[in-house]
């Protein structure tokens, strides 16, 4: 690349795209209520989330995605003298198979492809389509240049018809069986089976928090952050807390008003009223009570002392029942051992701490994030440990090599 086309190794075109995307995003998300309300209402219908949770998500996305944050992300992704990093061409098609977009996974992928210079082909989940499709529609209408390299649909067949030529890279979010189905559906695209080098697959299930040290107690704001991290989006997002690691057994807090009050408060704020309550979760509560296993039952949420089998190598780290959070008495070394375990490590999305920590703290190369950012991640966060923009910039050199 010519030096004149770059600023500190970053292509000028990428910086310009960041500015345009940031400006258009801010315009779109700050449209008047008469425009946004139907979009929000449709999102509530499709996703089953409360209006309060959808608005919470939009407020966060309005703060997190700006011309400046996009520019910084671009600079961070290019910040190396590594000559293998390359911009994609508008003919380089990146197919993103999106699942849910909470809190911003699919959206981040869309921005990553647009910023990389490639062609974004998005298979949008019908269960999380309203916001994403409305934004893409707005972008297409207002940026003719970008619209030339954007296509999306909630239907695979329809998306296939919009893509001219072959797909160069895949970003997939889901599980093993859905990935198999996608591979079968898109079998006429050789790249889907040819090589795994241009396929970014995400399968993490939930996140972990380290609560406190033995001689510390939690403040109301820390309890509140924990409640937000557990309860927003019904606890189903990949950044939602599914395991709490504490220096104390759950019985230490079982009758804590601060804990229950915080959970109640977030339940009220998120307007979440689960009726009827999932019966499997009620059965789990009954099991805990019958066995005198320490547990906290607030409205529809169950926090319980983790079963011993959780520590077995091949066992899942998170409860198979939605809305059941495990409490484990332990310390940082336990997280380290889980991250090293192939089964458990692949299930963990993020590790948080409720305590103040320096921003560079890591466990097994996973950054330890502040708990209060659980449902409000920055634009440049790395789902499943991978910055999708940087990952994309590495792909062209692999295509050349092969």
């Amino acid at each position: 690349m010519d030096k004149a086309d770059t600023v500190e190794n970053v292509p000028k075109r990428a910086i310009q795209t960041a500015e345009i995307l940031g400006k258009r995003w801010q315009e779109w998300i700050h449209q008047p209520p008469e425009v946004m309300e139907p979009i929000i209402a449709a999102q509530v219908d499709q996703s089953g989330h409360t209006r309060a949770d959808v608005v919470y998500q939009l407020k966060h996305l309005a703060d997190a995605i700006t011309p400046e944050s996009l520019r910084q992300w671009v600079q961070k992704s290019w910040s190396t003298s590594d000559s293998t990093l390359q911009e994609l061409q508008p003919t380089d098609v990146v197919c993103c198979i999106h699942a849910g977009n909470l809190p911003m996974v699919g959206l981040q992928d869309m921005f990553a492809v647009a910023l990389s210079g490639g062609f974004y082909a998005g298979k949008v989940s019908r269960r999380d389509a309203s916001l994403m499709c409305a934004w893409l529609e707005y972008l297409k209408d207002h940026e003719p240049d970008l619209s030339e390299r954007i296509a999306w649909s909630t239907e695979s067949k329809s998306l296939m018809q919009k893509i001219h030529g072959s797909i160069n890279a895949w970003i997939f979010t889901g599980n093993e069986s859905t990935w198999d189905s996608i591979k079968h559906q898109w079998a006429d695209q050789p790249s889907i089976t040819e090589s795994t080098h241009s396929t970014l697959i995400r399968r993490a299930e939930a996140s972990i928090v380290m609560l406190e040290d033995e001689d510390e107690s939690l403040t109301p704001s820390q309890w509140n952050a924990l409640a937000e991290a557990i309860l927003r989006y019904q606890g189903k997002g990949c950044r939602s807390v599914g395991v709490i690691l504490s220096a104390h057994p759950l019985s230490h807090y079982q009758h804590s008003c601060a804990m229950v009050d915080s959970l109640e408060s977030v339940l009220i704020k998120s307007m979440h009223d689960e009726r009827p309550i999932l019966q499997e979760r009620q059965m789990e509560r009954g099991w805990c009570a019958a066995n005198q296993i320490a547990h906290v039952w607030v409205d529809h949420l169950l926090i319980r002392e983790a079963p011993e089998i959780l520590f077995e190598e091949k066992e899942s780290l998170f409860s198979p029942i939605p809305g059941v959070v495990y409490w484990v008495q332990g310390n940082e070394s336990m997280i380290s051992s889980w991250l090293k375990n192939p089964k458990k490590g692949s299930q963990i999305q993020s590790v948080y701490t409720a305590q103040s920590t320096n921003s560079s703290k890591q466990i097994e190369r996973i950054p330890v994030e502040q708990l209060d950012t659980a449902q409000q991640p920055p634009l440049d966060w790395t789902p499943d440990g991978e910055n999708p923009l940087r990952w994309l910039l590495y792909q062209p050199s692999k295509w050349c090599a092969s």
């Binding site: 999380d128 299930e205 077995e312 998170f318 939605p322």
Partner: protein, 336 residues
């Protein structure tokens, strides 16, 4: 005074055995009983009157998480094969002779006539033989004891062939783990020929499902393969349904419908609402009421999917998909 197991054994109906069983659990305030009270929010007296179709079933995962036992010193602890997870289920049996009595009686109620007509019994249990805590091995051992020199337990295909070579005339009741029997069939590369041909009039009883087999098969496919592979008419391919968590068993002689032995009943619960009983003929999760589980938990919900007939028999439809919709899997949507 009669012991508990004697009372259960001499019960004249399931209802009588059930009442004996719940009175015992109530008396000991067992984990299973405390669970019923927690779920129903009833006291002992009221809980005992809960109708069977409303009885709160404990998730079968409980057998993996804890040893559920009234006795502090159970005579034996059966363990599942642990094929689907690393931690097996454990079932505490306080009276092994009672377990044997129940399982042998259940088996003989279906096959006594065959033995009276001169059939032999072979229990074919590859894989299980290395598991000293296998309930299947224990049960087949008890059947062998009951039948004396008409019966034997073997664990390799060559032993099976040898047994057939020694006597190719007398029919056999061959009872074996489905995956092991299919492994024998799979060795046959010539369609239409039989690696092991059972004598005329033989009956083959498969059990244990397909959990460990290298490929998924429907029950119909499996039975057709077994019929071809062993030279037995499809009407002579039967099935047994049992598990380490049960004292009782169920048998199917028509390849479709399973009927439990006298101390047990099936219930089918709604897939998404496992506290509600599914309407007859509707697919749901299989629940077990086994009065024989006097020491552990007589009421539990399995991960098997089934439909139930008016007479209580069930058809098994496979296992429940336990994939959790959460994280990257959340709101995933693969269109047709």
């Amino acid at each position: 005074m009669k012991t508990l197991t004697d009372q259960l054994w001499t019960s004249t109906s399931f209802e009588e055995a059930w009442n004996t069983c719940i009175a015992h659990h109530c008396h000991h305030q067992s984990i299973a009983w405390r669970y019923v009270k927690e779920m129903s929010r009833k006291n002992d007296e009221s809980a005992a009157r809960i109708p069977l179709d409303e009885w709160p079933l404990l998730p079968i995962s409980g057998f993996r998480e804890r040893l559920i036992s009234i006795s502090s010193n159970p005579e034996v602890i059966f363990k599942s094969s642990g094929t689907s997870s690393s931690v097996p289920s454990s079932h505490a049996i306080s009276d092994l002779s009672f377990y044997h009595k129940v399982s042998v009686h259940g088996f003989m109620s279906y096959y006594r006539d065959a033995f009276q007509d001169g059939a032999r019994f072979i229990g074919y249990v590859p894989g299980y033989i290395d598991n000293p805590n296998s309930s299947l091995i224990s049960m087949i051992g008890a059947i062998c004891t009951e039948l004396g020199d008409k019966a034997r337990m073997i664990s390799t295909p060559s032993e099976l062939r040898k047994a057939l070579d020694q006597d190719s005339i007398r029919p056999i009741v061959l009872f074996g783990a489905a995956f092991g029997l299919l492994d024998i069939v799979d060795q046959d590369s010539e369609p239409g020929s039989h690696v092991v041909e059972l004598p005329k009039g033989s009956i083959l009883i498969e059990t244990g499902g397909m959990k460990t087999h290298r490929r998924e098969l429907s029950r119909d496919e499996m039975h057709a393969m077994l019929s071809d592979g062993f030279g037995v008419p499809i009407s002579h391919i039967h099935s047994e349904y049992g598990m380490c968590e049960m004292t009782s068993q169920a048998y199917s002689t028509d390849g479709v419908w399973f009927t439990p032995t006298p101390l047990a009943r099936f219930v089918v619960k709604e897939m998404e609402n496992p506290l509600q009983t599914a309407p007859i003929g509707t697919k749901g999760r299989l629940g077990i009421l086994d009065a024989g589980n006097s020491n552990s938990c007589p009421w539990f919900l399995t991960d098997d999917v089934a439909v139930q007939r008016e007479d209580g028999a069930i058809q098994l439809l496979g296992r429940r998909d336990k994939a959790v919709s959460r994280g990257c899997n959340y709101m995933v949507d693969v269109d047709g």
